[in-house]
């Protein structure tokens, strides 16, 4: 697992209070991990804080799964 993926999963586990083994790439925050729309806003804020990046609202709307977040943040980090 990449460093980014590991940090993303740690944040998701902490914020949503879910078991680590459920936080897989294809897990949807709302449908699979029990988040509501406010939880996803907070998750995006936590990603911004952890990785020192800004995630604009239109980009945040495309981050629906754990894998989406990892992909976005790996790209943002590389840029």
């Amino acid at each position: 697992m990449s460093d980014v993926a590991e940090r993303v999963k740690k944040i998701v586990v902490e914020h949503l209070g879910v078991e680590a083994d459920k936080v897989v790439d294809k897990a949807n925050f709302i449908d699979d991990l029990g988040a509501d729309s406010l939880d996803t806003v907070e998750l995006v804020m936590a990603f911004e804080e952890e990785f020192g990046v800004e995630i604009p609202d239109d980009a945040a709307e495309t981050i629906l799964t754990v894998g989406d977040a990892v992909k976005f943040l790996e790209k943002a980090k590389a840029a």
């Binding site: 914020h15 949503l16 209070g17 406010l38 806003v41 907070e42 804020m45 911004e48 804080e49 800004e54």
Partner: protein
């Protein structure tokens, strides 16, 4: 109007979590004061507070995980967690479970707070200034606003009846129980979970109440002696935290399901001082009129009252004014009532005070024991009323009055009668 009875009690206070722990420690003359050690207080005029004892939930300690989803806790200020605990305790005690659509719709919630999430507002202000608006939590609003205690409790227990919140400073808990009783009396609900919750013990809360010269400042080295209602050395109140909730129920409804009935809510009175934003009217007329209104509503006389749980905050002005108002109510009658301030044990819980004190009044009736006014060494004025100094006193208590007076000149009184 329909009759309203109390069928469940729940409390979180500086004396602990749970009704039994609270009553045992209160009647034993114990208290919940200590030096502030959870935030920087060395530059504050008042460096003491009454805080909820936390622990693993045994021995009357408060464990938030027992009452509120751990992953939700960081989204809310403590007053919401305290309120949820008190409400859940009260519902469990009452045995009432709203498990059908009809029961859900006939059960409401009315829980208030004096200030709400002061700590979270303070912390988020700092975040906003230091890090900007993008760092403000999406849960900032929902975790701070006052009616979210009632909101969370309704969600947790599926209660779909009237959902309301009272904000009347230090009279909040009393108004909440009185108003909830009215909602049942007129038939808008059969069951109401009612009370107050508060968590003001933080740096901005202490600084604010110290700034308006309301807090005790002369007992920083002796926290247990700081709250001393009616005593000549009193110099202000001690800020406290916690929550109290009762389950109120229409009498026939409670009887039909064989519920344990603690007491009947027989009277509720309200008044306004129209005098000053923080100081009580010197003639005590507002306090007098609200007690009078409660007596009128109950259809009883002042001589029927056995116990008064006073507002008695331990401020130099307020205590004597309330005492004089009670004396005026008594007129020339030789007082048989006992009157004590349990704020001498738990401090001033602001919006939760009236609810916790209503519960203490009901427990005093249950036990036939008037809880003590701690630290009352030398009363500042002579009175023929028994202020129950130092030690609890056994006494038959069939009718109890609980008073609360708040900033803005808002006054409320509740009258309870032992269930026959």
């Amino acid at each position: 109007m329909r009759r309203v009875v109390v069928t469940g009690l729940g409390v979180v206070s500086p004396l602990g979590c749970g009704v039994e722990t609270n009553w045992r420690r209160l009647a034993a003359g114990e208290c919940g004061f200590k030096r502030i050690d959870t935030f920087e207080a060395s530059d504050l005029a008042c460096q003491i507070a009454a805080v909820v004892p936390r622990g693993d939930g045994t021995n009357g300690t408060f464990n938030p995980d027992d009452w509120f989803d751990p992953k939700e806790q960081r989204k809310v200020d403590d007053f919401i967690i305290y309120g949820a605990s008190a409400a859940t305790q009260a519902l469990k005690d009452s045995g009432w479970v709203a498990d059908t659509p009809e029961k859900q719709e006939s059960t409401g919630v009315l829980i208030g707070s004096g200030i709400g999430g002061l700590g979270g507002i303070y912390e988020t202000s700092v975040t906003l200034r230091e890090k900007g608006p993008r760092r403000v939590s999406p849960f900032f609003v929902s975790g701070r606003i006052i009616n979210l205690v009632a909101g969370y409790v309704s969600i947790m227990h599926g209660l779909k009846g009237p959902n309301h919140a009272v904000v009347t400073a230090c009279a909040t808990g009393t108004h909440a129980i009185g108003d909830a009783g009215r909602i049942i009396a007129v038939g808008d609900a059969d069951v109401m979970v009612a009370g107050g919750a508060e968590s003001p013990v933080n740096r901005i809360g202490v600084a604010g109440f110290a700034a308006c010269r309301a807090l005790s400042t002369g007992f920083n080295d002796r926290p247990e002696a700081a709250s001393r209602p009616y005593d000549k050395d009193r110099d202000g109140f001690v800020l406290g935290e916690g929550a109290g909730c009762v389950v109120l129920e229409e009498y026939e409804h409670a009887k039909a399901r064989g519920a344990k009935i603690y007491a009947e809510l027989i009277g509720y009175g309200m008044s306004g001082d129209a005098y000053h934003i923080t100081a009580p009217a010197p003639d005590g007329d507002g306090a007098y009129r609200c007690m009078k209104a409660a007596l009128k509503r109950a259809g009883i006389s002042v001589t029927d009252i056995d116990y008064v749980n006073a507002h008695g905050t331990s401020t130099p002005l307020g205590d004597e004014i309330e005492l004089k108002a009670v004396e005026r109510l008594l007129g020339n009658v030789e007082p048989k009532l006992a009157m004590s301030s349990t704020k001498s044990a738990i401090g001033h819980l602001l919006g939760a005070a009236g609810a916790v004190e209503a519960i203490y009044s009901i427990l005093a009736m249950q036990a036939n024991v008037a809880p003590p006014t701690r630290n009352l060494d030398n009363p500042s004025v002579a009175t023929t009323i028994d202020l129950v100094p130092h030690k609890a006193r056994e006494k038959e208590i069939n009718i109890a009055l609980s008073n609360s007076f708040g900033f803005g000149g808002t006054n409320a009184s509740l009258l309870f009668r032992r269930a026959s």
